[in-house]
Amino acid sequence: MDQYKSSYIEEAHELIAEMETSLLQLEQNPDNEALIQQVFRDMHTLKGNSAMFGFKVIAEFTHHLESIYELIRSGQQKVTKEVLNVSLASLDHLSALVNDNSLSSAESQNKHKQLTAKLVALVNITNAKEEIAEVDNCLQKPTGIEECKVYEILFSPAGNFFYNGSNPLYYLDELKSLGECTIEALTDNIPSIDSLDETLCYTSWKIEIKTKVQPAEIKKVFQYAEHLCVLEIAEKASVEIAEAAAPAVEEPKLAAEIKGAKPVQKETVAAKKNIISSVRVPSERLDTLMSLVSELITLQAKLGTLTEQLPHSELLAVTENLEKISTRLRDNAFSMSLVPVNNMLTPFSRLVRDLSSDLNKEIDFVTEGAETELDKNIMEGLADPVMHLLRNSIDHGIEDPDTREKAGKPRNGTILFKAYCSGTNVFIEIKDDGKGMDPEMIRAKAVQKGIINKDEVLSEKEVFNLIFLPGFSTAEKISEISGRGVGMDVVKRKITDIHGQIKISSQVNVGTTISIKLPLTVSIIDGLLIKVQDADFVIPLSSVDRCFELHSPADLNHFNNVIVLDGEQIPFINLSEEFNGIEDITESQEIIIVYHEDHKVALVAGHVVGKFQAVLKPLGRYFLQMESISGAAILGDGNIALVLDTNKVIEQYSNKKRLALCH
């Protein structure tokens, strides 16, 4: 039974976390039925699981909690702040119970009694109300029997179907939105590879669709292609089914049969749950999978290069297929270990809520970019530091409502948690509109602690960075909340451990912004492969505007380092000069125009090879300070192409120029 126990515990924690998220959302939308449903379902599941595993205490406790939500569900009780407070406290207690269900300490026993009493009281109050409305199972939906018909469609695109940019798969997609489809591709007309003209369409499709719509609607789907295909629609059979939620859509299968008609269901049909079925996988297995997939990609790229040198039509076809499948496998595998930042936000939300009310401050926690994805391992390393930073903001940053009002600020403080992707990094920003930090004060403190000399000259940025030094704390009192600056140096260490970087900027009375820059440990780079003399480099496609051939080197104005393209004056950087110290004087070079902040810069390289997709590998600790190179990619022939961070290359170049001008 023990092997199941750990599954139970894992699932219990997940359920509790889900409920916490739902409750916090419910706070903002107290009447949202879907949320209430979700909470109730989760409680019910937890109760059932606990009972099954013999955890009576947990099961009973959950039962009380469930009763309240039963009443809420039936409309007899409203979601009030009191209910929420008790519920959240109960969830915390449940979490502790799941870990140790014996209530070993007196403290937890007391808590248990208290909470149980509160829960029972809430339930009783409601039940004592006069009208006891019939518990209406609001899951009930009136059944309707709608008529569905099955049609057989023959879709035969003409040979020149592609000539107006059309794609038959687009039409098949549109069909799927009308009903359940079974699609069979008819490939008899496809000639052998030797006589195949790749601009012509040889495939036809036979589709069986189960739909309520009229044939005219089906025909309408093909309205843009009617003149380019042969379309036949015939009715097959009549099927009656009870109304359910949106029709399920099947992936195209080759020659599948549609099953027999479903029996009419008269009983209440539960609203179709949004079940995203999932499988638990230990993360080591994911890591292994990813590294195997990376090796496969490299190997397959090698195969591609070899095949180019030994052209053989069947080999080419197989290699191409292999490439397609490898790409899909790679995308699939990598997406498995990426998790949206959203998943870690609930504890933050909770912290802001609880802590701000403890301190009598009013703070809104706003998030932006919650769907940004991060590698799971990195996210785990981020939780602690972010919690600490939030505590700091709440405790030392945001002022209390009266002070804020006097300063002309809104009574509610805002903490913004923003996540976004840029290049091969993910950025997390925590921004508050509190009282900010005074560089003078920090400086003074540092001098006092002997960290810097009185007359040392530091830029504002450098002053703020002093905060990350161990033993530094400007809080007058060591508050219990954020503790003794066991703060920023530890935060910085934890961020460095996940290979990230942290930066602070602040303005007195305006607020403080903390920026964390994180790598995507494994990322797929869509880039442009270029050659600078003999070295290979990759420029991320997201930075590229366009490419040009440089026909005459005279176009490069060396005096003020601009080149004129399309009437625009664009500054240029000669990469071979920049990297190797020698100017490449070969006749034809190529120019890649990249975006840099809000303007364009031209990079002059020897040759643009083409678009390239590869696994980005980090260069490792030894090259951590090389900011202009974000990593390396392994080419099909085994050579290494360095991936450029064009922004950094341009910045370094500008800095060098600036310094040169100063002398």
Binding site: N164, S166, R546, C547
Partner: protein, 121 residues
């Protein structure tokens, strides 16, 4: 890592609205005021789809599509054409323009995003 859509229309407002709609779906956008400018933007870039108005000064939608279909790299490029003449015969344009999809300008705001996504996933 997104795909790029070229939006061609002589109205600044329309370009902005369509651009915003597509940007929200994760596409990169490029703009041109009419056909000739659009053609010049195709050089040296990797554009996945063109959305264009029919009536434009200098070079209109039909002429532009004809030119595009002659270009080696863009022969099979999906083109979404929209027509703002009330009562225009959409069928006629569907058959003769060489465009992949033809919309009424009214429908374009709601249908554009989903259509583009399906054409260039």
């Amino acid at each position: 890592m997104g795909k790029t859509v070229l939006i061609v229309d002589d109205s600044d407002l329309v370009r902005r609205v369509l651009g915003f709609t597509l940007k929200k779906e994760g596409f990169n956008t490029l703009f041109a005021e009419e056909g000739k400018e659009a053609l010049s933007l195709l050089e040296g870039r990797d554009i996945s789809l063109i959305v264009s108005d029919l009536n434009m000064p200098v070079m209109g939608g039909l002429e532009m599509i004809k030119e595009v279909r002659e270009m080696e790299n863009y022969r099979f490029m999906p083109v979404v054409l929209f027509v703002s003449d009330a009562g225009a015969d959409l069928n006629h344009y569907i058959r003769t323009s060489g465009a992949t999809i033809v919309f009424d300008k009214d429908a374009i705001k709601e249908k554009l995003a989903s259509t583009v996504k399906k054409l260039i996933w």
